[in-house]
């Protein structure tokens, strides 16, 4: 009963839908409701097969760039999150007791508030008449407003901003578990702080780094809201491509092919994530 109920539910509402997506990605788009042709049709002449790889061929021809751009954006966001998040997690782990809980609470808090609205808030900050540009103008650093919005910069900023807490939490987890005596031993033996960090702390927190990186990277590859609200016409992201195929072009088979290709691209990081996350929450 304990196993059966959630297993059945997730099988029905997670695995089965993925199988249906895979099936429909082979269908032909059609002007009907729902807007695709059945894969197999029984006619007077016998069973007709309509399965086709055309959607994938189209995808390979036209959209490889989108996949490359999404992976690149997500990878850069992961590195930036790591560079900002590691010192933060380190500082939180070293903070005195009451402060530690308070700081962790404030890392979590944005996660509890509306994602859509947090992304939207950047529009007012980044637009040509926005706060950042006006501050820069007032300080005399620039003479005309710089384009900060609707380009690659704003998308990257949005990704880092939104996914930073996902990086900090697992990093904090592994830094808090770090055995202080090892650091002390290294320091007593005369190691410089930088060397202690590179040879003791960093290797011991690798599982946290891996877990945090995957928690940022995987969802960032398929992100839709950020490129849609902060990106410009030149912004290419898979999540947006899927959304456009589905809602704007009403081409469900093409959208399904985009989804299947995305799952395939993400399968390696997904399996890695499964390993690291399962280890983080064992038994």
């Amino acid at each position: 009963m304990l196993i059966g109920l959630p297993f059945l539910w997730l099988g029905m509402f997670f695995l089965l839908p993925l199988a249906i997506v895979a099936a429909i990605s082979l269908a032909e788009s059609a002007d009907a409701i729902p807007p695709f042709r059945q894969l197999v049709e029984a006619t007077a002449a016998g069973v007709e097969n309509h399965a086709t790889f055309a959607n994938y061929l189209e995808l390979a021809e036209g959209c490889l760039r989108v996949y490359a751009a999404s992976l690149g954006n997500a990878a850069l966001a992961t590195v930036l999150c790591l560079l900002i998040g590691y010192p933060m997690a380190f500082a939180i782990a070293r903070a005195p007791g009451v402060w530690r809980h308070l700081l962790l609470f404030f890392v979590m808090l944005p996660f509890w508030t509306s994602f859509l609205i947090r992304v939207y808030a950047w529009i007012a900050l980044l637009q040509p008449t926005g706060l950042i540009n006006r501050l820069l103008l007032a300080s005399g650093l620039i003479e005309a407003p710089v384009p900060l919005l609707y380009n690659g910069f704003s998308v990257q900023l949005g990704l880092v901003y939104s996914y930073l807490p996902f990086m900090i939490l697992p990093l904090y987890g592994s830094l808090a578990r770090l055995d202080e005596t090892l650091v002390e031993a290294a320091s007593d033996l005369g190691a410089r702080p930088w060397r202690i960090f590179a040879q003791v702390i960093l290797p011991l927190t690798l599982p946290g780094i891996a877990a945090g990186s995957l928690l940022v990277f995987i969802p960032a590859v398929g992100e839709f809201v950020i490129p849609d609200l902060l990106g410009g016409p030149g912004t290419l992201m898979i999540g947006k491509l899927l959304w456009q195929e589905f809602f704007d072009n009403i081409d469900w088979p093409a959208a399904s092919a985009v989804a299947v290709a995305l799952v395939i691209v993400l399968s390696v990081p997904l399996l890695l994530a499964q390993r690291f996350l399962a280890r983080a929450q064992a038994p």
Binding site: W9, L10, L15, V21, V107, V225, W243, A259, L270, A273
Partner: protein, 278 residues
Amino acid sequence: MTRRSSAFRIAALALGFALLYLPIAVLVAYSFNASRLVTIWGGFSTRWYLALLDNEKYRTAALTSLEVAVMAASLALVLGACAGLAMNRFPRFRGRALFGFILLAPLVVPEVILGLSLLLLFVAAQSWLGWPASRGIATVTIAHATFAACFVSVLVRAQLAGFDRSLEEAALDLGARPLSVLWRITLPGISPALVSGWLLAFTMSLDDLVIASFVSGPSATTLPMAVYSSVRIGVSPEINALATVFLAVVVAMVALAGWVMARQERRRVAATATRVLP
């Protein structure tokens, strides 16, 4: 620790939190702006909050979202608690690896994939089984419960990992039935995870735009869908007010949950102490 390294740590925190809170602070500040222009300060005013109260579209959408969120969170709580208990209590069973995978995958799989796949399932189910007859509150609830259950199971598993099994064993030795041990010892013992799991599922459902946009129909518009449709047109001060209200409600809920749990913990400690020390 040297002074230089502690200065570095304070700088890292200040910078990081500035990034996390700058947009939220600006949003809250401009929600009290009298001017319609979102970038120019025109004096203090609460007019956007009054405008929000009059807005029929947001009111209906908020009610729809609340309805979905309460149902989805409750469903997710049951599913996630069962899954968490199963993973903790049964170290091996057929398909455990697969089960573990489908419990963790929805945490990271992009929302567009979850949304599209569930929509195609509902469409297929409609043509084969005739259910669901139309998409709306029910389908959004099912979709939200599915991915939120995975988050609940993570919290439940984490709490169970630090749970003292000797209490359960003692109760079983004293002749309690397994079901009453579950009800009277295990579930109260993991209640912090259950409370925070429900709250997390609730806020995630309230917050979701992408999945709801796929699986909902014309009959149900959730609050994020309503917000998205106006945000796409441009920035509006009403949305700032809505965001501030949302933020205040969430902070109040989280604080309340923390306070209730702390009080329960104090009571439990006090009760144990009086029993031990007559």
